[in-house]
Amino acid sequence: MSMRQLWEGNDSAPWIRHVTGETKLLVLLSYSVWTLAIDNPETLFYLFAGTLGLHLVARTSRSKWYVLAILLLLGLWGSMFSQALFYTQTPRTPVLVLIRPDMPVLGRLTEGLFVYREGILYGAVQGLRSAGMLSLGLLVCWTSDPRQLLQALLRWRLPAQIAFMLVTAIRFLPVLAAEAGEVLLVLQLRSGSRRGRRAVLRHLPYVIQPLLTRCLRRAQTLALSVTSRGFFLARGQRKQAPLPRSERILCLACLAVTGGVVVSKILYVLSEQGFYWGAFRQIYDGAKLYL
């Protein structure tokens, strides 16, 4: 599977491809609110696991799982390692000493390097937040036609130009991915040394410019193409079919859960600040235990 195929998606289960863009974007938005509002690591883990479950039922291909796994591994462990090492809040408890403070040179320079247990948990929470978003975001990207998303945004009364820009960003993900690989290869090929021929990290800073330039050109062509096909002219003429019943229910459920989570969290935070109402005790308890 080519890099481009990897980022385009019509190999997923038909049911998810037929879910409208509105529903997908609403679920994604709701999920992002949940992950931001929720601090409980266990709940965040289950939310994240839920997105993986969606990938399973959407029959995400093995190659895509591979990419997903690599991205998630990098994100999760990167977050945990960095927080474990550089956690600055207190209390913090060293569970491992990497550099002792009394070690010559390094110890004095760094004043010791420790792995903090609170940092690991904090990093896991942050990692789970981003991993969940990444996982669900990729699912939406991999199972959505850009037109679907464009129609959804227009239905939400977003100006056509902005909607187009947003969707173009998604549309160019596959192109970006494919060309980033090509540019990286080119950088290796243009390296004069044997080491440069194999290096990846040292070339990364140079990837952006050619990639961006190409994307701007491509975006311009795409804009011209959709313009000449009447996209901006015919905004009022597009037919707006109603959402299927099952999707309406799902959207309402998402909105209700989002509202519930946000209100519970706000009430809980207020109660911590002293604005406590006894009638909400169960909400406070629920927020503390699960949010």
């Binding site: 690591p41 266990e42 965040l44 883990f45 994240f48 696991a49 993986l52 093995r62 799982w65 591979y66 796994a69 690599i70 998630l72 591994l73 999760l76 462990w77 207190t90 209390p91 913090r92 408890t93 060293p94 569970v95 247990r117 609170e118 690991i120 948990l121 896991a124 929470v125 990692g127 789970l128 809980y268 109660s271 002293g274 604005f275 406590y276 006894g278 005790r281 169960q282 406070y284 308890d285 629920g286 503390k288 235990l289």
Partner: protein, 473 residues
Amino acid sequence: MKQCKMYVVFLLFALSLAALWWIASGGTPWQGRDGARDASGGRLVSLGDIPVSNYDRMGFTKAIVRYIPKEKGWLVGTERGELFLFSDQGEQRWKRSLGIGKLVSAALSPAGDTAYVGEQSPTGTLYAVDVHTGDIRWQYAASDFVGSDPSQRSYPSVVHIAVDGKGTVYANCYRFLMQKDGGRAYAGRMIAVRRDGSLAWQYPRAEVIDSWINWCDVNDANGRVVLSTSAYDFREEMRYKDTLYFLRRDDGQELRSVAVAPVEPFENTVLRGSPNFSADGRYLAASCSDGRGFLFDGRGNILWERTLSAPTRVAGAWINASGRDGFALAEGVVFTTINTFNRENWQLPTPVEHPSSNSLFLFHYDGSFGYQYRARGTMEELAFGEGIVACAIGRNVRTHDYSCHGALVLRLRDGRKLDFYHTEGPLQAIAVSPDGRHLAGVEAPVLTPEGRTIGAYRLHIWRREPAGPGAPV
């Protein structure tokens, strides 16, 4: 090759998910998941992460642990508002999350089937929990009796619970208030709730006690309830300035109150972990913050008074070791003292340790001295088994001797040290089975003055063998 790489990535991903679940669900290695053991061979059970308190500030980490003979297990309440029932092996039978409150007090019904648990929270609820299932049978909010003012962080709590033979629960509800002029004020009330959850009475009926009420006890033999009151500073207009209030058990009618005169340099007499009746109701033992131990008769008359730790002026500062617990047992009258404190401010350093600090004293009923056992850390809690006393040994804020932390088991008769189970952090709570063979304690994490965190919030379960300590469960 590529296939191979893919499988390796998938394997790593699966392992990472497992690790994440492990971390996210509170099973981190440092908390010791099921099956972990401490240095003494005891079972370790994590109770979750809690804020780590400063080693030099005592009394902030709460935990409750009780042995449930019927279930052959341990009821544990935590600062995180969670109530557990663990088996002797440390397996969790159930977990009841009671929400945002901090669990601070507990008692068992005479039949051992119901646990009464008190919390500190914006409502300060008293729960009656079925120990077999974890179901809540009934609950009362202390805020309904003493009010609540979350904006001032004035949270009510059920500070102490006593239960009589009929299963009626006597609970001290209390909250602390900071007045506008900066002065301290208190609102306390004792409530009596019948076994079925109906309110029997409340004391006082039409007002709140304007001093703090730390402790209470009830006795079936003499039909009395006793509660102790105190305050940092008594003001003229305060009504409840006496030390002990005796109430009729059945209707909460006040029978009498007893004022115990303070000793220099103290202005008030403060009782922290006492008084307690003897089983037959004839005696009442109490220990005061000023370092005195008292034995009263069942009606509140002082039979004798002993100085456990005389306040002493050293280098211009008054120091003493506060008395805390008082028990009237078959073996004698037991008192305890805690760390050495500076009279001016308990957080200020003291030049020396008081020789009577961190000790357990036993006196005979005739007032004669039995023995003193000096532990190197605070006696945080006592629990009694057949002929033994188990002591939770916590901080010593003066010496910072971390090796003293742990569970100490003494023979009550002569104060002989039977066992000692060391814990890394200070042990905050302890319980022992009636036969003395099963012992459990809750350890707290603390931040040492050197900036090191020691210990964790976890339950230790030890099984005592007649041969000695450390026998694996």
